[in-house]
Amino acid sequence: MAVQDYLRQRFFPHMWCPGCGHGTILNALIHSIEELKLNKNEIVMVSGIGCSARISGYVDFHSLHTLHGRALAFATGVKLSRPHLNVLVPMGDGDALAIGGNHFIHAARRNIDITAIVMNNRIYGMTGGQFSPLSGPGVKATTAPYKTIDSSFDVVELAKAAGATFVARTTAFHVKECTEMLTKAILHKGFSVVEIMSQCPTHFGRKNKEGDAVNMLGLYKDNTAKLGSKALEEKPHLIPRGIFVEKERPEYCEEYDKIIAYAMKEKIS
């Protein structure tokens, strides 16, 4: 199936600002799904609220555009009731880790087979540029005119600690890497998290003097390095990219099926 067959083309051009990284993530995701040759009827995309969440409107899957922060909770209901479906949950940084932080850690703890994509632009874009729990200290935002004093979460460390069994990080600059990681994340049995750093030139870039989209993408190139690379060894202050966790652990829906089998047997005997 051609890439455009996975899209609802009548809604294009998309609503994201010029230079936004989110369109690149959509591109990478569609290429990944095309590569996997997934049946569109067996994909459910569940999103929350924010710029990132609008991605679900553009894909020709079953799409569920829910409440701010709650996408993973809705997705848990979908997945547990129909475990054969591929459930993809793209979220923004505020959506996933501020208002949705509780659902994020608990989905990871259960190791339910959902693919969570954190589209991290370190800002609330749709409401006009407020800082998020991933902004980190020293960032300017409309609600931090004197710069932020809040520390940030590290998505990778948080996901690891909470029990996610696949954890990866990449950026919107590294498009092929994005596709590869999303493919692996979708194939992975269990809760997988892919953090994709995504530029927001309109709010983050402008407020923090990071220039236009091209310049911000250059920063992703310069300020990150592959896990295990020489560059990272020499410059440990760089942000590591790569697959941090890829392991087996009992998956929630499969474990529940065992409960059903046991309960049914017990009842009969």
Binding site: N41, L67, G77, A263
Partner: protein, 382 residues
């Protein structure tokens, strides 16, 4: 004697009703005094191949059942005051997206943490207006276990018929009290199954285009029709729209599909009502005391009757008006500061003849509590 005779808590009667109606997915969070519903279903659902999940919080429970309902399951959650508050945003989402689901609220004293192990009926208005924005809702209640069972079945049926969340407003006294329940045989009570679309594969399916009768056939997530579901105002395909005509029509549809069916939704019981001069309007556990008093006073020749409401929203205004038209006085018996009283006053011809017999201290209102006020109204002293 019927085979399926049980001695159970009200919460268990709710569980039995839900299973009878076809419940196959439950998500919840522990909270007194509703926890027995979750406990029982964690055992019963897997026995029939259904799913039970204890979520991380009340909000997640509400969201999870909506997600599961979209895949074609009959779903439910149960909670009490604080949890009911937390669920409100997602209840509004289910109203907007027209996703069938049932929410049992076994009421306890509020506001806030309130009086967790004691009875109250303080969430009547929250059930109606707890979520933001204009909308309509269905809320049912019951005063005894046979009716808890029946109303639970009705709740699932109405959720499917009108594609809406339905709220079961039980209370701590009914929820925790034990009494007899006869579980009807299969087929004895009508069960409404999900209306699924007949639109063939690859033919344009409109998930949000009502049929002539107002109903919207659904298609399960995972089936052959892929569509969008959003809490934003949306067009007939489910895609966001702020077109004034679409916004106007959708909001009217959401309200009309329920408000125009008040008669079909209304559930009530009459106790000694025909020639009653004094009418007690009540519901839930407080109705038990009202019925007891009325029967007692009837034996002494007083013309007292009870109108027991079992559907509180949409409020059966016409029914109350008609039944109370010849009454010398109407007493609304409830355990709050007059939430149904306001509705009854608005319904009847002479609101100044409507009085509140209430109790708000966490104790069940007694027949003698009601009698005291009744005697004053009757001019027979204190």
């Amino acid at each position: 004697m019927p085979k399926n005779i049980r001695f159970v808590q009200g919460n268990e009667a709710c569980v039995e009703g839900a299973l009878y109606a076809g419940l196959d997915f439950y998500a919840g969070y522990p909270i007194t005094p509703s926890t027995e519903i979750a406990e029982q279903l964690s055992q019963r659902l897997p026995e029939i191949g259904g799913k039970f999940i204890q979520m991380e919080d009340e909000i997640a429970s509400m969201c999870a059942i909506i997600g599961a309902s979209l895949t074609g399951k009959k779903v439910m959650t149960a909670t009490s005051g604080p949890g009911f508050s937390l669920k409100q945003e997602a209840i509004g989402y289910a109203c907007m997206t027209e996703i069938p689901c049932v929410i049992a609220n076994v009421q306890r004293g509020g506001p806030s943490t309130g009086n967790p192990t004691h009875v109250s009926q303080g969430d009547i208005n929250q059930a109606r207006w707890g979520t933001h924005g204009d909308h309509a809702i269905i809320a049912l209640t019951a005063s005894n276990h046979q009716d808890v069972f029946k109303m639970t079945v009705d709740a699932f049926n109405m959720a499917e018929t009108y594609r809406t969340p339905v709220i079961l407003l039980f209370d701590e006294a009914v929820g925790h009290m034990r009494e007899k329940l006869i579980i009807p045989e299969k087929g004895e009570l009508e069960i409404v199954d999900r209306l699924r679309t007949a639109v063939a594969k690859d033919v344009d399916y409109h998930p949000y285009l009502p049929r002539e009768d107002g109903r919207l056939p659904m298609s399960d997530f995972g089936a052959e029709h892929r569509y969008n579901v959003t809490g934003l105002f949306h067009d007939m395909w489910g895609f966001p729209s702020n077109n004034p005509k679409i916004v106007n029509e959708l909001l009217r549809h959401l309200v009309d599909k329920i408000e125009n069916n008040v008669q079909a939704i209304t559930r009530y019981k009459e106790h000694c009502l025909e020639d009653a001069e004094y009418i007690l309007v009540s519901y839930g556990s407080s109705a038990r005391s009202a019925i007891h008093l009325a029967q007692n006073r009837r034996n002494k020749g007083e013309k007292i009757g009870v109108l027991e409401l079992q559907s509180l929203w949409p409020f059966p205004t016409e029914l109350v008006k008609e039944k109370c038209s010849d009454a010398k006085a109407v007493l609304v018996v409830e355990m709050n500061m007059g939430q149904v009283l306001t509705q009854v006053k608005a319904a009847v011809k002479s609101p100044d003849r409507v009085f509140l017999a209430n109790r708000i201290d966490g104790q069940l209102i007694t027949p003698s509590n009601i009698k005291q006020l009744l005697r004053v109204i009757q001019g027979r002293g204190v």
